[in-house]
Symmetry: C2
Subunit: 252 residues, 2 copies
DNA sequence: GCTTGACCCTCACGTAGCGGCAGGCGGGAG
DNA sequence: CTCCCGCCTGCCGCTACGTGAGGGTCAAGC
């Protein structure tokens, strides 16, 4: 079977210009031409094109692809292994970036302003292993995440204002309670912890008691979130953490 | 504090040329110049640079970064969501390619020749959901995979020849047994299934009984592997599948 | 046989995000 | 005063094509 450029382009999902380019640089020259100078591609050309596109998708520069394909002594298994490694590295990098973005999104819900430094830390010397563990511990429940993002995407400015008002009201009440000297495991504190859980459930994602305690622990473990609550009132981060745990235990 | 281009370049880990370029396109112009025309960057410039690099790392084109940073009304959350989606898509794509490569690696162990079509299928209209489920069912045990790859990477040509000889010997014996009319759940068939499991364990990765039955099912479910065994002897794929299951049950 | 429209050809310049030079000035140390 | 390092402004080069311009070709319909 013989194909014209246009046919090949459609088959392979590339533009004609791309095929011209590959011909120009000698990466993929059609096996023949018609008398009028039209390019004619045969099945072998198609196979080669598929290989080319495969390597291209893996991020190889075209020149290198030429070398790989044209080298008859090349070990295909070695290429596969190499590709696999490359992909793994890229996946890891992407995963880190996704984590960074999710962190930024979560932080923005609490109106925490990330400093450029913080935004930037994903590029720093952060140990990927540690980062991974941290991420899993923090946003392990990806379903909740997606759910949250779905909801948030539909919020209007008004919704945000109402959420903020609600949040601030809750904040004033828990600060007052803490100031009154009521212990963190008092019924009143637990009620406010429960309210906190329901605010999250209503606005972001279905928050279980277990997930709630995980969140509470993060408020203490991560200084950014600690700072957020400590900024409202000193001692609030620990107070809230304890109240959430007490609430989770008593309702379980 | 004021910094020269060179200092900023070292601090931020970019080249001087990059800073010149950002100045040229108006993405990041230093807040001042010395009388001699030297660029002078201050702390605010550094902050802006970090933001720029952050968005750049996330894959935004420079022009868009300019718009994002310079537009005070822009919704950063919307950008984050968008970028999160983009990254997710890219991750999915990479994951599919990893799966395809792992498939190719597994196939090459059995000396199955993949056609370019098959190599190419990752670009096709394969339903990602289905693909994902298939991949999980197939190579769920990633540890086994890594282990296998580690070992295989050290094999010499001699190792491969010995493995092949061993494999072919086993093949001849199971074909003979099947031809003799012995049922697939006979002790002899189960012994050969067990031997099959041990060959895998010895050469590739620690193969549990459970993993072995999973593999056996794949031999029937995936036509490429089915074809491999059917090519040795008609009916062998089903016969081996049954023998492996019988063996797993009896040894459990 | 002729037109029409879809297809093909070859230049050839434009794009992003810089890399890397040339040719020339500035600035602090010895 | 010299030396060398750092800075400056062009400006051309690179990859992997996109996007025309200007013109030939092919199959179908009239």
């Amino acid at each position: 079977m013989a194909y014209t450029v246009g046919q090949v382009a459609k088959l392979a999902g590339v533009t004609i210009r791309t095929l011209h380019h590959y011909d120009e640089i000698g990466l993929l020259s059609p096996s023949g031409r018609t008398s009028a100078g039209y390019r004619r591609y045969d099945d072998a050309d198609l196979q080669r094109l598929q290989l080319v596109l495969y390597y291209r998708e893996l991020g190889f520069p075209l020149e290198e692809i030429t070398a790989i394909i044209d080298d008859p002594a090349a070990d295909p298994a070695a290429h596969l292994r190499r590709q696999h490694e490359l992909l793994t590295v890229r996946m890891k990098r992407l995963q880190e970036m996704v984590t960074a973005i999710e962190f930024a999104m979560e932080a923005s819900k609490l109106n925490i302003q990330l400093t450029p430094q913080e935004r930037f830390e994903v590029f720093g010397d952060v140990d990927p292993e540690e980062h991974q563990a941290e991420a899993e511990q923090r946003w392990g429940d990806t379903d909740a995440y997606r759910e949250s993002n779905r909801r948030v995407a539909r919020y209007t400015k008004d919704d945000w204002l109402r959420h903020r008002a609600e949040n601030e009201d809750w904040g004033r009440r828990i600060v007052a309670l803490m100031a009154s000297g009521a212990p963190a495991d008092s019924p009143e504190a637990m009620d406010l912890a429960e309210e906190h859980r329901q605010i999250i459930s209503r606005w972001f994602y279905e928050c279980s008691y277990e997930g709630h305690t995980g969140l509470a622990d993060m408020y203490l473990a991560d200084e950014r979130f600690t700072a957020y609550y400590e900024n409202i009132a000193p001692g609030l981060a620990a107070y809230l953490n304890e109240a959430i745990h007490a609430n989770a235990i008593s309702r379980a």
